[in-house]
Symmetry: C2
Subunit: 223 residues, 2 copies
């Protein structure tokens, strides 16, 4: 059960079954009532954690003594593992349970031992984290595009209706239209590429033809 | 100039100036007209890349011979670096310029040499990629919360108006309300936490008090 939670963390994706068991050696489960502090900023860091259920808040004290929430960690998510790799001996944040929670407690030394005895393992872990980064960047792109696509569809439909045609002469360079719609140039390029590749629009020089008004209207309805 | 682009990639954040220069040894710049293929799927992989400007599409051929866009890579972003760490000798995708583009071409061997001569470097890189992952997860959380916050604000305002009060007795457990609004339980928890910590609402058992209807209305207007 605990190993299943580990297996789903990108950090452990490079580990085979024996390595996963070694990384999890000494693993224990800790329940935390809402409001309980798991560790304080500047405590010695010998463990890292995965949230089993509940919600953990990471706070950093500023020099004036006020706390600021840095991150909220939910089920299946790892925290304090970066500290272990950075060779910092102390936690840079305080971890507190927001709701009644449970965390899996893992020993830094168990994973670091594995990494020093198998020098290709760190490379494989880098590869898996890199892939995970790409996926997250794509996910952000999709979420951002959703909004940008809505705005572009709204603009194009508005222009078609105003001029009563589906053949538009773009009134300004693409970058200017992107900027007017509050869309980053690279997002705008991706968006135009996607609309062109699905045949919704054609672009020839400064002329843009909307082939499918219905698809644009659907974007607005679902936005 | 090229080193500035490198410095902004999370992968290189752990490198000091001398290591960065070593990783960039043999770096060259390649211009690509729109439509040009940079490398084909199954080509031997000796390089990884950073987009300087333009847009690069990564396609994977499925067994039936049709291509599928796996990823679009924009300015400042790295690609094909995971391949290098995974010890795959061949690119799993075809890279093609969507727009007129330029990429920085880096040699795998330059970075892998560094990693084998300094065995703490890989750990530092893991630490930096882990931190970057946390930031991206937070960014996704923020983008998702935006939508969820809108739906929750809409629900709460609707209930307040319908019952003509700002003191609501929740008609169902939080999980049920979350599910009815199409919000994941952990997102719902974070959202309630955020509305409570900013004083917009108070929750006491099954009673929810809306302290600030204007903030909720603003959420709807800006959504």
């Amino acid at each position: 059960m605990s190993l299943d939670i580990l297996r789903n963390c990108p950090l452990f994706a490079a580990l085979n079954a024996a390595q996963l068991a070694a990384a999890a050696s000494g693993l224990r489960r800790q329940s935390l009532a809402a409001g309980t502090v798991l560790f304080h900023q500047n405590d010695a860091a010998a463990h890292y954690y995965i949230v089993e259920h509940g919600l953990i808040e990471l706070d950093r004290l500023s020099p004036d003594g006020s706390g600021k929430v840095i991150e909220l960690i939910g089920p299946g998510e790892l925290f304090a593992e970066a500290v272990m790799f950075m060779n910092l001996p102390r936690y840079p944040v305080t971890a507190r349970a927001v709701d009644d929670s449970a965390v899996l407690v893992l020993r830094n030394i168990a994973l670091l031992d594995l990494l020093t005895t198998d020098n290709t393992l760190a490379l494989h872990m880098l590869g898996h984290l890199s892939m995970r980064l790409h996926h997250l960047v794509q996910e952000i792109e999709t979420l951002t595009l959703h909004d940008a696509r809505y705005r572009l569809a709204n603009y194009l439909l508005g222009e078609c209706e105003r001029r009563d045609t589906t053949r538009l002469t773009l009134p300004a360079p693409k970058q200017v239209i992107a900027s007017r719609l509050g869309i980053k140039p690279e997002t705008f390029s991706r968006l135009m590429h996607s609309l062109r590749s699905t045949g919704v629009i054609d672009v020839r020089g400064a002329t843009l033809v909307v082939n499918d008004l219905a698809v644009l209207r659907n974007l607005l309805d679902s936005g």
